[in-house]
Structure formats: C-alpha cells, structure tokens
Amino acid sequence: MRKILLPALIIIAGSLLVIRVFYLQIIDDSFKLKSENNAIKKQYDYPERGYIYDRNGKLLVANQASYDIMVIPRDIKEDLNVDEFCTLLNITKEDYEKRIAKAKVYSPRLPSVFLAQLNKSEFAAFQEKIRKFEGFYFQKRSLRDYEVDYGANIFGFITQVTEKLIAKNPYYNSGDLIGQQGVEQSYEEVLRGIKGVKYIQKDKYNREIGSYKDGKYDTIAVAGEDINLTIDGELQKYGQELMINKRGGIVAIEPKTGEILALVTAPSFDPGILVGRQRSKNYTLLYHDSIAKPLYDRGLLAEYPPGSPFKLLTGLVALQEGVIDENNFTVTCHHGFSYARGRFMRCHCSGGQLQLHRGIYQSCNTYFATAYMRTINKYTNPSASVDVWSSHLKSFGLGEFMGYDLPTGKRGKIPTSKTYKRMYPNGGWRSTAIVSNAIGQGEVVMTPIQLANMMATIANQGYYYTPHIIKKIEGKTIDKKFTTKHTTTIDQKYFPPIISGLFDVYNMGTASRLRVDGIDICGKTGTAENFAKIGGKRVQLEDHSIFVAFAPKDNPKIAIAIMIENGGFGASVAGPIASLMIEKYLRRKITRTDLETRVLNKSLASEYAKLGGMSEASKIESVPKDSVLQAKIAKPKVPAATNTKTEVKKTAVDTTKKN
C-alpha cells in the first residue's frame, strides 16, 4: 500500500490532465473561434470596380479616388505643427481637438477615421506634407465617378451592404459596397471583381505583427470587368432632355438585336448626387418623394392600358385567325360602335366604309372592335377563343416578365379565360363584355418596354430578341438568352399590311404633322385614361399620352415606345418626342428645331401640380446641365418650382458661353 500511493497518484493525476486537455482541445470547440478572433485579422483588398461604357465606347461611369485621413492617436508626436496641419486640411483648431479626442475615445492604439472622403484636390496639398505628421496616414477608397449626368435609372448606385444581405451572401462583409438597382445590381458580380484577402497575425495589443502563415491562405484581388451597355449615350441624354418638366418613360430598342438604345424615365436625377458625403441625404429625399417618384423607372414599371397601339395586335391576331382579311373585310363606322343594348364605343375616325389600312392610320375603334369580336366569336365557347387570342399575345412576350437584365420589371396583364371566370363566376360572358380589349383598354395592361418590344417585333415582321442592356463584358460572352430568337405565332405575311398602315399614320393619319423628311417612320398614337383620388374624390385627369414607332420602314433600326403621364392625346407630346428621338438616332442631328424647342418647353407641371405639386426632392431632380438645348427652355410656369429650376437654367447658360 505504502509503495503504491505515489505511483497511483501519478497515474491518476496524469489521466486527469489528459482528460482535461482532451476536453479543451477536442470536445469544446469554442476555443478555436476565440483564438481566431484573438489573433487573426482579415484585411481585404478591394479591386477597382469595372467601368461602364455606352454602345459606342463612350465612358459613362468610372471611378474616383477618395481619401480618408486616418489617425493613430498614440503615434502623434508632441511637436506636431497643428496650425499647419489644420490649414492644409482646411479645418479649425477646435475641430482638430474634437476629432483627436473622439479617436482617442475609440482607441489610442488603433487607427480610426480622422477625416472622411476627401476628394483629390482637397487631399493633394496634405499628401505632400503627410510625412511630417506622424500618427496620420491615409486610406484610399474608390467611389463611382459619373462622367455623364443622365442614366441614373440605368446605372443604379453603390451602397453599403445591409446586414440582411451579409447573412445571405457570405462574400460580403460589413462595410462592403454593393451595387443596387440598375446595371450596378444586375452586373454586380462582373463589375465588382473579387476582393483579395490577407490574413494578418495580431498580438495581444491588437497590433499587426506580420502575415499569417506567410500568406498561405491569402488571395489576390481580381479586378472588376468593364462593360459596354447597349445604351446610346447621346440618345439617352437627348431623351432625358426632351422629358424635362414631364413625367413618363421612353424605351428605344434596336429591333434586329433587342438591344435597348435608350431607357428614359422622368423625372430623373444626376447620378453624381448619390456619391460621397451627400449620398444618404439625397437618397432619402428621392426616396420619400412619393408623387414624382424619381426612383421609379417608368420605362420598366409603369403599367397602363396601352390604348390604340394595341389595335395592331388585335389586327394581327384577327388576321392569323382568319376572321378578317386585309382587303375583303370592310367595316362601316358611324363615329362609333354599338355592340350591345345601349353600349356604344365612340370613334374619332372620319367614318364611312373602311378596311384594315385606314382602320390603322385613322385608328378606327369600330374596325378593331368588330375584328376582335369576330376573333372571340370564332369558337362557340368564348373561353377557348380568349385563350387562343391570349396565347398569340403571349408569343410577343406580353403578360410576363420579359427577362431583360435590369432588376426591376412588371408583368403587365394579358387576360385569359381564367381571368374572366374570376370576374364572372357565374359565366355567361361573351365577346361584348370584353370588347374594350380590342382597343387596348379593358383588362389589357402593358409597360413601355413591352410596347417598345411589340414595335420591334412588328418591325421584324414576327420575331424579337429579349430586350437587354448589356452589349459586351470584357473577356466574357453575354447571356445566351439575349441572342435567342423568339418567333411569334403570327405568320410573317400578316405583318406587311399592318406596317403599311403604320406608315400612313405619318402620311395621312394621326401623326401626319410629325413627319421627318427622308425618314420613313411607322408609328401609332395612343391615349390611356387615368384617374386619381384628389381630396377623396375620383377625378379624371388628362389622358396619358402614348406613342409607339419604328423607323426606317424598310430595314428598321429603332423601335420606340413613349409614355407621358397626363400628356393628353398621343400626337401632342409623345408623338413629337418619338419623331425627334428617331431623327436624333438615325441622323445625329435635328432639322426641325422649332418642334424641338416646342417639346423642350412643353411643361406639364401645372397638370402634375393637381396631384400635389413639387416636393423637396424635385430640387435635386436634375435636368441636364451641360446642354446647349438647355438655353432654349423657358422658365416653367409653376411657382413652386421656380427657384431651383431658374438656377439650373442660369448654370446652363453660363456653360454655353464658356463653350
């Protein structure tokens, strides 16, 4: 017994130690994490974000350096020349003391931001002398630098990632920047590149003492790729100028490729205001403007009954279904169409007997209502007919998300038999109940980009490519879905009669005053009724002005859809803008300067004032500043907006003089 005590103690004690060590090292795994938090710091190396160019290689979005002055309070030398330091950074001595005190509160040993986001010129003078100020150093950050003052809706913007997103996507860390909205969002992964990471070993004072494992796990940053958009910078800019003092959207598409040439929404703003120190203030203002909605991309999101342009589809479907014929189907219009007991659809055409051709260029309601009713009455069961009609329309990409490469969109609405089963649960509905669809009222709803795509499809005589905004990614091919042809269910032979009708809209029809010499434009006017609740009462406002067109008639290069909120009759505002846009794109200059001046000066501000007038945000809703055309814009007649708008105009005039 006496001999055994010590050996027994040794073995028991040894086992005890092993068990405890086993517990610490193997069972309890919380220590691993604690040790990493203790000792390893990840330092990220952010690559430069890719540049954004337009279709012609014009630089739209680049990067700018901004500089944060950092301080480690403990390293500041006693003899630092505070006066010189403050002069160089243009701050007061009190400010200096306050900032140093704040940094000390955070940590005397760790770096903190002393002065944030200086631009190049603010930083230059300080940079030369920075050696003299021990304890201070700078950190370069990259911010977006917008080379143009348009296209905010296309570009989107850069913002700090939210906690929610960090939880979802492990790539991002707190404080990282991410693209939001526009191409910054849809091409985030292409533009941002891949950040590099360095593992740094820290000591107990949280100081860095070298790289961890000689950089075995470090990765090198991969630079973001530059991209070319399908946007034509000049056309985009011109579109935004034409939309000054109006609300609405313009979408222009190259029919042969589906490339979006211009995507205008109004009101808009200078993308540059969402960069740097003013960003959050400006964004809040824009975000809270619930009336003008500058952040709302009307080209993609505004859903309205399309009105008259929809007659083209009514006609095409009726032709395909064989219920009408280009020449042998005649309708007599009595300035309206009575389709049921006491139900009468008015018509503005010149009346009398008409065929498809005049039906289109005079936009005869009677003709298309008749064609539509024949389509729906083709089968004894109207449900079957509606589904046939509906599936033809869906082959144009309607009633669905189009699949373009921008993050926002709306489906629009193409009714099917189900829609009507829901509306009329007891059945018994017939073609007369849904005849409004014939002229694009009823249940049909489309967005401007769907209208533009419809025109592109008609211009192509029966096919389209999914509209898209990406033209080229450096070193990569673009998504195959943008080079896949979509063919409609309408035979190619039915398109020429429609196109010829559209051509005569400009020659003899509703847009005859908008002709451009030498360019064969095919177009169609439209209006969409709309209502608003003002003071609790439902009030009918001025119609939304709609215009669709493509040109030239043979070998079309541009298809366009324009929607102007409360713009009135299609030919009054939307039509002129369409023809100016087409001329700008095809000719690069405008011959009809009087028309241009008239459009630029057309202000719908008084109409919009009914909805609630101008908000705080409208002060920063920018109008192009560097434009020669700007000089032609007269002072708007709405008092609420005068101050800012006048100032903007002055700047523009000054620019002109300098140029």
Binding site: L6, A13, G14, Q25, S30, K32, S35, N38
Partner: protein, 411 residues
C-alpha cells in the same frame, strides 16, 4: 573504471526521456519567444549547454559523496536561502534571486535537491522509526526549515512543492493519518470556499455520523467523533476567516476564478482564459510548429516560463500534449521503479523525493495552465525557461541516476 561503470550502469531510459523533454522544452520556448527581442531562446540554449558539464560533474563525483556530505549541502542551501533576506534581488515583488551582474540565480531551485538529500540521510539511519512521534517531528522539521525560509520571499509556489515530502515520508512509515489529514484538509478547504461554512460542517457531521453508526460496535467512540467535528468546524471557520481577512484580493481572485465564482476575462481571469484558448485552439494535431497564432500574438502571459505548456497545446495539439504528459509520467514511474530497487535506504528515499518533486511540479503547473488549479508560480521541469530551474532539476535527477548507476559497486 568508474567512467566505464557509469556509462554501462546509468539508466539510459531516464536519460533519454530527460533529453527529449529538454529538447522539446527548448523548441517550445523558441516558438513562444521568437518575436521577442530579449534573447530568451538563445539564453535558454546557453543554459542547456551548461547542463552538460554540470551533469558530468554530478556523475563523476564519488557516489558516497552525496550521502557523506548531505547535511553540509543542506546547511549551505539553508544559508543561501536565508542570505536572500540580506543580499537577495527583488524581481516582481519576490526576493528570490541572487544577482551576479545580469545573471540571476534562484537558490530555492537547488534547495529541493538539498532537502531531499538531508531527508534521505536522516531516514537512512537504521535506528529511525517513523512510528515514533519524535522522529516524525524531526523529519518534518527537515522539510519545514526551507519552507519557513521560502514562504516570506514570498514564493508560495516553491513552498507548496515541499508538501510532497509527506508522501515520501508515508512511504517510509509515516502513519497514514498524516496523509488522510492532508487530504481531508485540502478537501475541506476547497469545500469551504465553494459552499457556506455551515453547509460544510453539516456535511462533515453527516459523514462522521455515518462512520460512527456503520462502524464496528467496539470502535464506537462518541467523544472522538465529537472532537473531530469540533476540529473540523474550527478549521472551516478559520479557513473562511483567513480567506476573507488574511488573503490578499489577488489570492482570493485566483481561487474564485478557478472555482468559477467570478468571470472576468479582462482582469484576473485573463491568464487562465488565454491559456485555455491557446490550448483549446490546438485541436487534435495542433497548428504546427511556429504556427500558433496565440503564441505568436503573445496573448498568454509568461508563456515561455510557467505557461510553456500552452505552446505545446496550441502548436502540437492533443497529440503533442499527450506525448509530453506521457514522457513525464513515464519518467516519474521509471524513477520510482529505480528507487524501489535501490539497495540502500538513502538512495531509495532520495529517488522517491526526486520522483515526488518532479511530479508535483508537473501536476501543479499543467493543472494551473489548463485551468483546474489556482494560478501559482510553479515551473514545468525541463520545459520552462530559466537557468536555475533547469539546473536544479538536472542536478536533482542526475544525483539519483548516479546513485542508481553506483548501486552495483556498493559493497
């Protein structure tokens, strides 16, 4: 030839374990002080180099020398401890060192070997019977003399080491109640700190009652049980009193942290927390030599001295820790085995002392590092940085290996 006999008869297993521990120790010191500018691992290399002549001197001195001069060595050692009060250098509040230039020597590291020799010498007298109270007092006096000199330095860690002599004396016939008393004292001490004094007394009464009524009828002695309870109560209350009134706050904190009563990772709990993190982050195989993030970051205080085992745990993982613990345990058992086969009582007792001293250092040190013992300054033999410690342990061990190698020559 003496040389020949030492070479042939020395216990090479112990020597190899010793060499392995010293080398492993240095590698870990190297890792933990790689980034320090104080030349720690270079100095330790010099200390290790110095052990070689030291070992040769120890081995070539005549085997009888140690027994013959044990008393004188003990006397010199006590003088060197006493001399600290006059000539000692104070480092970090402890007056434990003699300073010769920049070089410091800690006499308490050598006093362990001297005390062992003295105890062995005393017990080797065939007249000595530890059943006699007088003898018990004399033997304990030998142990307590150096403790009395060490405690006020203050160096409670070194003093604690001497408690292992109780186990050695027990081996040589000290009545078992000494061991039981020691064990019960420690148990009561810890219980008193964890629980309320009254609860401890109640528990003690309960245990005594069970022993009283379960025991054989003839042994029942109500008076004895009552006296025990009174002594226990007095002890419990005095512990409570001492802990609250005599102990300094940092002593209390060390116990409280250990017992999980207070959680304070920034202040007093920092040491233990950091050493647990370092060891715990090692996993099965560790982070690899020189790859310990905690070691490099210097998060564990005193890592190259008392906390050297954290480097083992972090860089070599559970596998490395197991190897080191196994080497130590192997060495202790080997020394005990050798001690038991000694022909003279002197060398047997001395061997027991060697095993005991090394063991208690090993256990207290690692237990402290892994958080099951209060923070107390006890080095890990052969591992921790420091010349005095390394030399002290080397001399302690090799004197015994010399005795062991000599046993065949003994008459």
């Amino acid at each position: 030839m003496k040389n020949q006999s030492v070479k042939n008869n020395i216990d090479w297993i112990s020597v190899f374990i010793y060499i392995a521990l010293v080398i492993l120790g240095w590698l870990n010191i190297y890792s933990s002080s790689l980034l320090s500018t104080e030349g720690t691992y270079q100095k330790q290399l010099i200390f290790i180099g110095c052990t070689i002549p030291l070992i040769f001197v120890v081995l070539f001195v005549d085997g009888k020398f140690y027994e013959k001069y044990a008393s004188i060595i003990f006397g010199v050692s006590l003088l060197s401890l006493a001399g600290l009060f006059l000539f000692g250098k104070t480092i970090a509040g402890q007056r434990c060192w003699y300073a010769i230039g920049s070089f410091t020597l800690q006499p308490s590291e050598f006093a362990k070997a001297a005390t062992s020799l003295a105890l062995a010498k005393y017990l080797s007298d065939t007249q000595i019977n530890l059943k006699e109270v007088n003898r018990q007092i004399q033997a304990l006096a030998i142990v307590f003399l150096p403790v009395i000199l060490i405690l006020p330095q203050p160096d409670p860690g070194s003093a604690l080491i001497y408690s292992i002599f109780i186990i050695v004396l027990y081996r040589e016939g000290l009545p078992s109640w000494y061991v039981w008393t020691g064990f019960i004292t420690i148990l009561l001490f810890v219980l008193t700190l964890v629980l309320e004094p009254y609860v401890v007394i109640l528990l003690a009464a309960l245990v005594l009652a069970i022993i009283h009524f379960k025991g054989r009828v003839v042994d029942r002695n109500l008076l004895m049980s009552g006296i025990f309870l009174v002594i226990i109560s007095a002890f419990v209350f005095s512990v409570d009193y001492v802990f609250d009134n005599v102990f300094k706050q940092h002593h209390r904190d060390r116990f409280n942290i250990l017992l999980g009563k207070t959680v304070d990772m920034k202040g007093i709990g920092y040491n233990t927390n950091q050493s647990e993190i370092a060891i715990g982050s090692g996993g099965w195989l560790g982070k690899g030599f020189l790859q310990g993030t905690q070691t490099k970051g210097g998060f564990v205080p005193e890592q190259h001295t008392d906390y050297i085992f954290t480097t083992v745990g972090e860089e070599w993982g559970f596998a490395g820790s197991l190897v080191v613990i196994a080497l130590f345990v192997g060495l202790f058992l080997r020394v005990i085995y050798l001690a038991e086969r000694q022909k003279t009582k002197f060398s047997r007792v001395y061997g027991y002392c060697v095993a005991g001293i090394l063991f208690i250092h090993f256990f207290v040190n690692i237990a402290m590092v892994i958080g099951i013992f209060p923070t107390i300054g006890v080095p890990l033999p052969f591992f921790s940085y420091g010349g005095s410690g390394l030399w002290g342990f080397t001399i302690l061990l090799f004197i015994f290996l010399k005795m062991d190698a000599n046993k065949v020559n003994e008459w």
